[in-house]
Symmetry: C2
Subunit: 239 residues, 2 copies
């Protein structure tokens, strides 16, 4: 089903063919972590929800894969935590940006940053374009499926970066402040669930949840999970 | 470069968009085995070369990804071991089959099975179509990037199946007689290299090379390699 959504995304012109290769890489890692939200991923998702609720200017970055896979969940989270969406593509064309914006609006998104009047310093031209009131000004950015360079550039601007990345060894995973090693189709509903649960809490209680979070431990637990699964998968007799 | 070849393949209509997702899955596993031909992969490649040289009717199955990635290496191996090529697609359309045949011919392929006048028993319609003098009649089939069902169906017909599959846990990997856990871009030149080296040997010497080969050991060593690499990759500090 996920695979069909992404193929539909290509046919609609919102997912790039490089996005399909990225989808395949994600599938492989998802298989290795057991195609479930691990305990450590759930913990990262809860801390992410707290950080997003604490943020003054949170923004959710949307790329071609996330728009194809989880448009409704992006919109739901956006409304829950009052974080606008902003389309931000690795292989950027204005045509594809506009198609994704239309796609999100058709699904009901009302709060989208639309301009590309600012630049993230330190990365090349098209990939640097952002909205001066959106990602450029944000204090916390949720980046599902981000590349390493842009993840680092956002951190260099002083932002808190929450990444969703199934590869716990990737540069993005290692750079980010909070790395959610989970499939985006599970991660977004989980973050929204936690956001609903934590919404009524005050600042201090939210800070208590976020305090002491250790991203290296999250990554390390994800790696342990893969190794454990490789053991348990291994029935090398003919299936 | 590999990624660009496969994207070109899509643009030329020879690679399917499902093939791109498969490419991504392969990239992830290649990364985990360290993007090199391991010792156990080289051993499987050598045994594969011996088996192909021993075969009475070897055939090399070609799909959209292998045609895009390694057309010249497919042709080179085909000539070295006197094994014709046969286009065999998971998402089969006659148009794509014909495009791949033209692509291979343009690169110099002369020996291609062209008909689809026979069926592999036990698998559904379009995926079952093969040439009655080709894969249907073959004793040894080299299947780069095959799906599990068709791999099993070929084995059920009594054929020796040599698979190239970067995922040592996949059904194809576990079914095949010889599983080469290596990137097709390295595996094919390696098999050709061994075929050149072994070409002058007699039947008995070739049989000595193939004898005692243990595919479960190959898979087990590939899994160990991944686990070892996961350890050594792990520098969880910011890159």
């Amino acid at each position: 089903m996920t695979r069909e959504s992404i193929v539909d995304g290509v046919n609609q012109g919102i997912t790039s063919i490089h996005g399909l290769i990225a989808q395949g890489r994600g599938e492989a890692f998802d298989y290795l972590i057991g195609e479930k939200s691990t305990e450590s991923a759930l913990k990262a998702e809860k801390v992410a929800a707290a950080k997003l609720l604490l943020a003054r200017k949170p923004v959710i970055s949307v790329n071609g894969n996330s728009a194809a896979l989880v448009p409704d969940e992006l919109i739901r989270l956006s409304e829950l935590i009052n974080a606008p969406l902003e389309v931000n593509l690795f292989h950027r064309t204005e045509e594809r940006v506009n198609k994704i914006i239309r796609h999100l609006r058709n699904r009901g998104a009302r709060n989208i940053f639309l301009k590309s009047d600012a630049r993230i310093p330190g990365i090349e031209h098209d990939r640097a374009k952002v909205d001066s009131h959106g990602i450029f000004a944000a204090d916390v950015v949720l980046v599902p499926l981000e590349d390493g360079d842009r993840c680092k550039a956002l951190l260099d601007m002083g932002k808190t970066v929450i990444a969703i990345d199934l590869n716990p060894l990737s540069r993005t995973a290692r750079y980010a402040d909070i790395t959610i090693v989970d499939n985006i189709t599970r991660a977004l509903p989980n973050i929204s669930g936690f956001a609903e649960e934590l919404k009524c809490l005050g600042q201090e209680e939210l800070q208590d949840i976020a305090r002491g979070y250790d991203n290296r431990q999250t990554l390390s637990l994800a790696i342990d999970e893969i190794k454990k699964n490789m053991e348990s998968f291994v029935d090398l007799s003919k299936p």
